[in-house]
């Protein structure tokens, strides 16, 4: 039974299920585009956060089987996060239905933060393959690290569009706690290393 979990293609299928459901809903009744804006964005955020949690969890917990499992699927999670982000934009554009108003709204803080984050997502997704990873060398890692500013932009986008912080906080606070723990741990290890170096000198 557990062997099913090891099929990589199955993971992609699972990640696509909510998107398929959303698209069926949209095709059956395009008016639902308005109602699909929020859930598609939320799925994008959730997948991004799960992908982002792998590194701090490994730093804190060390190597674990389930973390390795997740790590080997991080690329799929990231690409899917981008996919849901694009879907989120598509529903938004359809719901707006007026290029003039779309342009007007793009200047509002809550909206351009979303666009900027999506541009980062697209750049990351397009380079999420082995060939791009080899071609970009050290720059590949730099590019993928843009997920941190993207996460910040998305938190702002969510907070300002919604006008309240709770929905956003539910998703981002756990990530923030993990990242904080990782940084503190990093400093602790560094000072411990320095202490042992001083002793052996």
């Amino acid at each position: 039974m557990l062997r099913i979990l090891k099929i990589p293609e199955l993971f992609w299928v699972v990640l696509a299920i909510p998107a398929i459901a959303m698209m069926i809903g949209f095709v059956q009744d395009p008016v639902t585009a308005f109602d699909l804006i929020h859930p598609s964005g939320e799925f994008s955020v959730r997948l991004m956060i799960v992908a982002m949690m792998v590194s701090p969890l490994r730093a804190i917990l060390g190597r674990r089987g389930w973390l390795d499992w997740l790590l080997s699927r991080r690329r799929a999670l990231g690409v899917a996060a981008c996919g849901y982000g694009v879907l989120h934009l598509a529903f938004y554009l359809y719901d707006m239905g007026d290029w003039g108003m779309i342009a007007e709204e793009a200047l509002i803080f809550s909206i351009w933060t979303g666009y900027l984050a999506l541009i980062i997502f697209i750049a990351m997704a397009l380079t999420s393959n082995n060939a791009a990873q080899r071609a970009l060398r050290a720059n590949w890692k730099r590019l993928q690290r843009l997920v941190y500013p993207a996460a910040l932009l998305i938190a702002l986008h969510w907070f300002y569009v919604d006008g309240e912080w709770k929905g956003m906080a539910v998703h981002f606070v756990p990530l923030l706690v993990l990242e904080t723990a990782r940084i503190i741990l990093m400093f602790k290890q560094r000072s411990a290393r320095r202490a042992t170096q001083a002793m052996t000198r």
Partner: protein, 103 residues
């Protein structure tokens, strides 16, 4: 490993705290001191009044004792607007979080 365990517990507790309080999540950005619902005008009346005024109503609901309407203004702006359920007075209009009208 004590520190990291505490951090994990904190992350889990925070997530659960928010997940367990759907009522707290429902609070909006506007509160109306509107008395008992029996004295309110109907939401359909508000919707038809807005439609007559040139609005396009996508969705409406009760939020914080006010009527909250998602729709398009006669000027074409996609907004979230709050109305008093008794007086039907327009209280707040927000375009993607940018307040464009406030009483």
């Amino acid at each position: 490993m004590k520190f990291s365990q505490a951090m994990m517990a904190l992350a889990a507790a925070t997530a659960m705290q928010f997940a367990a309080s759907p009522a707290a999540l429902a609070t909006g950005k506007m509160k109306c001191d509107s008395g008992p619902q029996s004295t309110w005008k109907s939401r359909t009346d508000l919707e038809s009044k807005l439609t007559k005024d040139g609005w396009k109503v996508k969705k409406s609901k009760v939020d914080g004792g006010c009527y909250e309407v998602y729709g398009v203004t006669p000027e074409g702006q996609n907004v979230e607007a709050y109305f008093h359920p008794v007086t039907m007075e327009k209280l707040l209009v927000s375009q993607r979080g940018k307040v464009i009208f406030k009483k």
